[in-house]
Subunit: 367 residues, 4 copies
């Protein structure tokens, strides 16, 4: 793809992972192209698109002008499966489930950025997404690719990774240590999430026009957003019991970035005392101190989406509120990187035994 | 001020309310000028400023070029008191408390846009604001000017109105009917608030620079924001018991607009059932159906800040979430209008027995 | 429409202008509704729409919730003509020309916000717009509604007003006095124009999505934009000779506002000297000193779009550059007000012998 | 600095360029840190700051949290000179000129991002900048670091590089081939430039507050901006004759990005004909076809700032306007990268005989 990378591979005879991207002309697809084109072990060999077949990719995404010379091909997973080591599917819900076969998985690995294989319980999926799941037989095999938590499960033997959603990644990682350590009453957990507009995709809809979004703010999908059951399922595993929570997404006038603010009542100890700051901090440190991509901020510093923009980092912090007995958790990430393409590449690195942060070390860009 | 208004008054001999604005060169002050310059019963006779004394007001706020000819005067409340019927103080915390006297109040009415007289308990004020209150003797007299709730108390006899804060107005009005009717468990109330940047004022601070705010989002003042006790006190009156709640403000990259998302557990009836949609809706209708400036949206419509921009309206709605037993409340207003200057004028109208909506009927501007 | 206005009319028996809006669900249409709903002499009786027929207007534009109760009707000009005193057509090019008849004009006045009747030479129109003009027989009768220049032609006898475009209004008014007074070499005139995104309309196109416009800037229609011949024709009348100029529009990430920066070489006097500051200023004063809606700024102050937002004002100023012998002209307006709906109402006021500024005195809103 | 880079150097014994940044806490300084922290041959050993001495750099720029551990030191060039191979000065005008000595230059190379050594004629500098130049003796030695044009002059022997300004880089590169080839009448050249707000720096000024810039647009420094003589001087070298031109900068509500639109009359050939498209295109190809960081766009594609954001690319194109005999040139770049830090690193690469694009290959980020 990047002619320099390709020729280097030819010259050196080095093994390059051949990757195909289905849905390469969406925002997450373009972000995959941006990241993979700089990944020293990957060669992009297929840019699939539904709407721009046979058009030059760099006409659709002018940022890649002179960096990517290829034309878009069809979103043809069967054809592609025989040609690549890994397929990224950045496609609408139901697309991959509608065509996935044993034959495809026998030929190539799949990292799916859609929700098709994230939820184990097919009934839950079908209820929240309102479509029938076409290939539930792969749900058991699919690994939920939240690397920091499920790293051990993402190995060269893994064939199908369900890459977590943007809201979900941020929501789960922000709460995980406290749920895992039993510090909060999960029944009180409320997640108020705010997202930039790139999460809404590149489809031409009135609601996403500049003049409708700019200088505006709103909640949407209140008590009904599809990321809810995904968060509940994963936090359920962490807490070892079913979780029902409130999740409210909001649209904010910016391109990139998700911020979650989470509220939960702290569990009191046998003596009626609340866990103190050090106890909560220790829980976070226990799980995240060595994580490359999770940054626990210093006490008193609130995460800001701009501080992680363009990078694979998640910034997390919390405030203990003794007045209310609650802890307020905050997490921020770039929805197109750690919330989509970056995490997908992180998963790919694990699938191919590469350093987990390969190609993902770009620092956040400010301002 | 507006030469046309003034000359009309001269010509017709009609009584005009003489108004002075202290802090006229802040954003809320400029909004007062915008609104009052169109108010047919008001003449602005004093534009007070700390930083721009003797400069033409329209040099400081070029939007008023040729509409306001006066130069800024000092923020001299004593001098001003003898000249006007009403003083608006759009000043920092502690300013008005530091100089208010019986003599001033004997000469003129005061509508205070700061927090100085909003909180009845001086200890609470001093704890949250970190300054000593200089004139607690007027706390008892001050009326909390949330017109929709305290209308009966705002009369020609009232001398001092504590105009509610922007976050506060939105937070209280959104929850009030459900607290008043006892439909929610107030101990579970969580308010996640998002604000445009004009609420931060016109002071030159790095944190409010365009490049720091744009494409960025963050929480701030977590578990410690000064509007918290104000909300708690007012909702305490509504529920007839003390309230302790979580309030988290966020900064969003837009000029105007506050959106609150509030979460509370519904109180179950004797039979264990949750209040249904109709019951909750009826509570809102009971208090707001006849309110000019509160718009209960149709079922399923979420408030958006853009839909109220530039106007004195508050848009409110809710979603009943049976899964969690919670209700999610949403409210949106323009922080400079209903959250500051517009509400101050609404109070002024009541103080002078004018129609409450006089000068406040501008429709929201979109986009 | 506004039930208060309607009932007041009923009560007082006062004559109200009945107005219909065709294309009421575009951004300019909504701005007409905002302005006319506050106009004390107008009653809106028809909200025409192509895409939202039979839907409540306030569902399409939630800002008008509870302010406008009507449902959208068809864009049926013939039907409407018999019911109203004036029709505003905020419709795509070719729409009005495709259906206008003598019968319609015999029944009602038409203020057309499209380009159909702005250009007198039908060949020029057809070349730049790429469509055949369906009713050139009305071109002679149509008055170009740039009120400050053509005021005398807009009278109760006028039946058809071609309301100028947004770029055009700003471009012409900024240069007019200098062209009229022969102070600049018109052959050197270059207009570099920048516009907010509402000028692109509410159509769902990828290029107008928030993520495509935000944090971005570009020129478009370079050397080929359709407003070019309109500017050339009008400045040709001013200078009494044909004009050919460069006009380059740019898209800027904001909702409202047009800023033009114009460059022209000053004509030297017989002694080789350039006109001085006073001479150029005097030219502007000569034509604009008494204009309500044109504000010549003080020396050294550059127009900013924010200073006119939401209002019908045009702010204009210039800088004399002796180094290059050029004058740089600058003008700013709100494209939806003075550049569309506000100017249309200004024209309507003239058509019905009302004060020209009736309903148009809202001050600019800042920030 | 980056502990990984440092330790790698220690481990491998590889030579690392030691770099110091003076003014590291401005926006350009932070961009240098972002880029250099990923540069495989550079070790940052000094982060100088005027306002944040002894504070952790990552407290000032939270994006570098856990990526940069150092505290800020003083802006002490003399002290620093003995410790590093290259100093980047991202400081206000006059700073470097006020302290530069032969001793400093005998110890280290300096890449100056300020204007102090860009203009050869000290009288011109002093007139436009309004300050006395404190070390004109180095003006002759300083190389104007516009790599694409002066590449041959930037060598391991070079001690002092004057890194071009953001507006200047974009303005010059966009016009250079046509001036060099004599295709345009340089006396007619007009440059209308638009910039994001990061170019205004991180100083706390009212004019740069979010609410003042957002939803606003204005020209500034009209006919008097300091980048004018820098552009004139460089284009004068290209055209081999003095140049006087119009340059008008505008402030636009976005963080990053400069767009220039340039207008010039084409020179007619002996037969009176204009150069055609192919001729103009050929001029651009002649100078830029092999340039890594200049992208001549396909015919009809207008540069957009978003397509180069975060990268070192300049996108350039033109439109031939036969109607007016003019050519309209357009160029776009990221003011903090190619307009500041990226170009500075490009210069550093040349100074140390590294591949010119080392550390600068990050693709533009969209959206």
């Amino acid at each position: 793809m990047d002619s320099r990378a390709a020729s280097e591979a030819e010259r050196t005879g080095k093994f390059m992972i051949k990757a195909g991207i289905i849905g390469a002309t969406g925002y997450a697809g373009n972000e995959l192209v941006r990241i993979l084109s700089c990944h020293k072990d990957v060669e992009i060999v297929w840019l699939g698109s539904k709407s721009y077949i046979d058009q030059k990719y760099s006409k659709v995404y002018q940022n890649m002008f002179r960096l990517v010379d290829d034309v878009c091909k069809a979103d043809d997973v069967n054809e592609l499966a025989g040609q690549v080591d890994v397929i990224f599917t950045a496609t609408p819900q139901g697309f991959l489930a509608g065509l996935l076969t044993e034959e495809i998985l026998s030929k190539t690995k799949v990292v799916d950025l859609s929700a098709d294989f994230r939820i184990k319980d097919v009934a839950v999926y079908e209820k929240w997404y309102g479509i029938r799941h076409q290939s539930p037989q792969f749900l058991g095999e699919a690994v939920y690719g939240l690397c920091e938590i499920n790293r051990a499960l993402i190995t060269p033997d893994t064939r199908l990774v369900a890459n977590p959603g943007c809201y979900t990644t941020c929501s789960i990682l922000t709460a995980y240590p406290l749920v895992k350590e039993g510090l909060i009453d999960v029944d009180t957990l409320i997640i108020d999430a705010k997202s930039g507009t790139s999460g809404a995709g590149r489809g031409a809809k009135v609601a996403n026009l500049f003049c409708e979004v700019n200088e505006n703010m709103k909640a949407y999908g209140v008590a009904s957003h599809r990321h809810t059951p995904e968060i509940e399922e994963q936090l359920g595993y962490a807490g070892n019991r079913p979780v029902t929570l409130s999740f409210t997404p909001h649209l904010v006038p910016m391109n990139r970035g998700i911020l979650v603010t989470e509220y939960a009542s702290l569990k009191r100890g046998p003596d009626g005392s609340l866990p103190d700051y050090a106890r909560i901090r220790a829980a976070y440190e226990k799980y995240y101190a060595k994580e490359r991509f999770i940054r626990l901020l210093d006490a008193g510093v609130c995460p800001e989406t701009k501080w992680v923009e363009g990078s694979n980092y998640v910034d997390i912090n919390f405030v203990l509120d003794e007045r209310t007995g609650r802890v307020i958790l905050m997490g921020a990430l770039d929805n197109l990187v750690k919330g989509a393409a970056g995490q997908a590449v992180q998963n790919m690195n694990l699938l191919f035994s590469l350093p987990e942060d390969e190609g993902l070390l770009m620092p956040p860009m400010f301002p």
